[in-house]
């Protein structure tokens, strides 16, 4: 892992291997609201999964499983596009 390593230990040319790279927790960008799902309304249409700019919708196979709050920035697009109003932005 390359956390402020000496130059001798960095990969030549700055190649980053995703398997080893950290992913900053951009969930910290949220300003007080987060999406939550009413599973009884969710029809697993997968639109929220497709629309999410932060790949923060987790699936179980092809069914909605939950939001990845480590990365969700709270943009609310999922709540807007959900065709069955299953997603609500709630105060954190």
């Amino acid at each position: 892992m390359a956390r402020l390593s000496p130059w001798q230990e960095l990969p030549a040319g700055g190649a980053i291997l995703p398997a080893e790279a950290e992913q900053p927790r951009t969930g910290g960008w949220r300003t007080g609201f987060r999406p939550e799902v009413d599973l009884s309304r969710c029809v697993d249409c997968l639109l929220c999964w497709l629309y999410c700019p932060d790949s923060a919708v987790r699936l179980d196979g092809t069914a909605f499983e939950g939001f990845d709050y480590d990365f969700c920035k709270g943009c609310e697009i999922c709540a807007e596009v959900c065709p069955v109003d299953a997603i609500e932005m709630v105060v954190e």
Partner: protein, 383 residues
């Protein structure tokens, strides 16, 4: 094998044929065109098997070369002058992305005025880019250095673009006897190219060409500096093997008649050949003169040069490029190298835009009768 009568450009094209790279992106510019035309004919006749990509500018030539080299393909190209200037942005990136690319540089003056003849201003433009620059004195050296280049570029401690510099027209277009190696010998010498984190290795994906903030950029640059220095050691390490193959030995410099010399000219490229002839004549006349030809301009073999020149009374550097308002590049290099030594350092700029350097000019230089800017009209002579 009998030597062939080849221009420098043709000789480099033959070297490329024998290396048989995978991908060759090309864009034409005088005076490197004989190289790419010669190579294109080899491909058209099935004597070389590269993907020859006729890109739409030199900037794209180097860009395609990076994509190709990082995808694991042996990649070569050629350019000169304005072409190098246009691709300069990408040359720096090729070096920093550690892309092994071999490029023939037909040294030609930078515009303006536009001029197609030889000087070294194009090499000097990318002096600080982190690429390796090897200078040939003649067509034979242009051929040999091209054969050596992939072994330097692709070495795991190096992984950098290597430029084989040959004087425009003087070498690229002048025919000389050139001893080619056997095809099989070149193939065995250059071997196969393998690279970690190949772009096409989808099972092991890597992100290449990232964005680096002040907390990381400097370390990558330091790493690059070490890689250029490693190229010097790699070149040294290849000397024995190449000599066994060819009978010719290459080091970072060629010291010609330095023994007992009081005055030594330091030069790059074909001019070193001219100076050798004058050195021979002057030695016959009892003058203690010699010439130090720099082969590896980057990395510059500073310690070696200092060792060879530290006791010379007068070191005269010839620059075929200028740095207006400051010290000419090779002179600056020698000044840094010789700082603190007893040698007296003199410098001249000559030959810009293809202005010939005649043997009589070299005599005047050795005699310290030449102006700083040699053979330009209107320059006052030193008293």
């Amino acid at each position: 094998m009998t030597p062939l009568l080849l221009t420098g450009g043709e000789a480099v094209a033959h070297a490329m044929r024998q290396i048989d790279p995978d991908v060759v992106p090309v864009y034409p510019i005088t005076p490197q065109t004989p190289i790419i035309q010669g190579f294109a004919k080899f491909v058209a006749d099935g004597r070389a098997h590269a993907e020859l990509v006729n890109v739409e500018s030199e900037h794209s030539a180097m860009s395609a070369a990076i994509g190709s080299a990082l995808a694991g393909a042996r990649t070569m190209t050629a350019t000169s002058s304005q072409g190098l200037a246009l691709m300069a942005e990408v040359v720096y990136i090729a070096a920093s992305m550690r892309a092994p690319i071999v490029m023939a540089l037909g040294n030609r003056a930078l515009s303006g005025p536009i001029n197609i003849h030889c000087d070294h201003s194009d090499s000097m433009l990318i002096r600080d880019s982190g690429v390796v620059q090897l200078f040939a004195e003649n067509a034979q050296e242009a051929y040999d250095l091209t054969v050596l280049a992939p072994r330097v570029a692709e070495h795991p401690d190096v992984l950098l673009p290597v430029l084989v510099c040959l004087d425009g027209f003087t070498i690229t277009h002048s025919a000389e006897p050139v001893q080619l190696l056997a095809d099989g010998d070149v193939a065995a010498f250059v071997g196969t190219y393998t690279l970690a984190h190949r772009v096409l290795d989808v099972a092991h994906p890597a992100t290449q060409g990232p964005f680096a903030m002040p907390d990381y950029y400097y370390e990558f640059r330091r790493q690059q500096s070490a890689a250029v220095e490693a190229a010097g050691r790699v070149l040294d390490g290849l000397a024995d093997g190449f000599e066994r193959l060819s009978g010719r030995r290459y080091g970072p410099v060629e010291a010609y008649r330095l023994d007992g010399a009081e005055r030594v000219i330091v030069a790059l490229g074909s001019t070193a050949g001219t100076v050798k002839d004058v050195v021979d004549e002057l030695r016959e006349e009892g003058e203690a003169v010699g010439v130090l030809k720099i082969v590896s301009y980057r990395p510059f073999p500073s310690e070696l040069v200092r060792g060879l020149l530290a006791d010379i009374a007068s070191v005269i550097v010839l620059d075929r490029a200028d740095s207006p308002g400051g010290a000419a590049p090779l002179q600056a290099e020698l000044a840094a190298t010789l700082y603190g030594s007893a040698a007296e350092l003199h410098g001249h700029v000559y030959g810009l835009g293809g202005r010939d350097l005649h043997p009589r000019d070299v005599r005047e230089i050795f005699a310290q009768h030449a102006p700083r800017y040699v053979s330009v009209r209107g320059e006052p002579c030193p008293v």
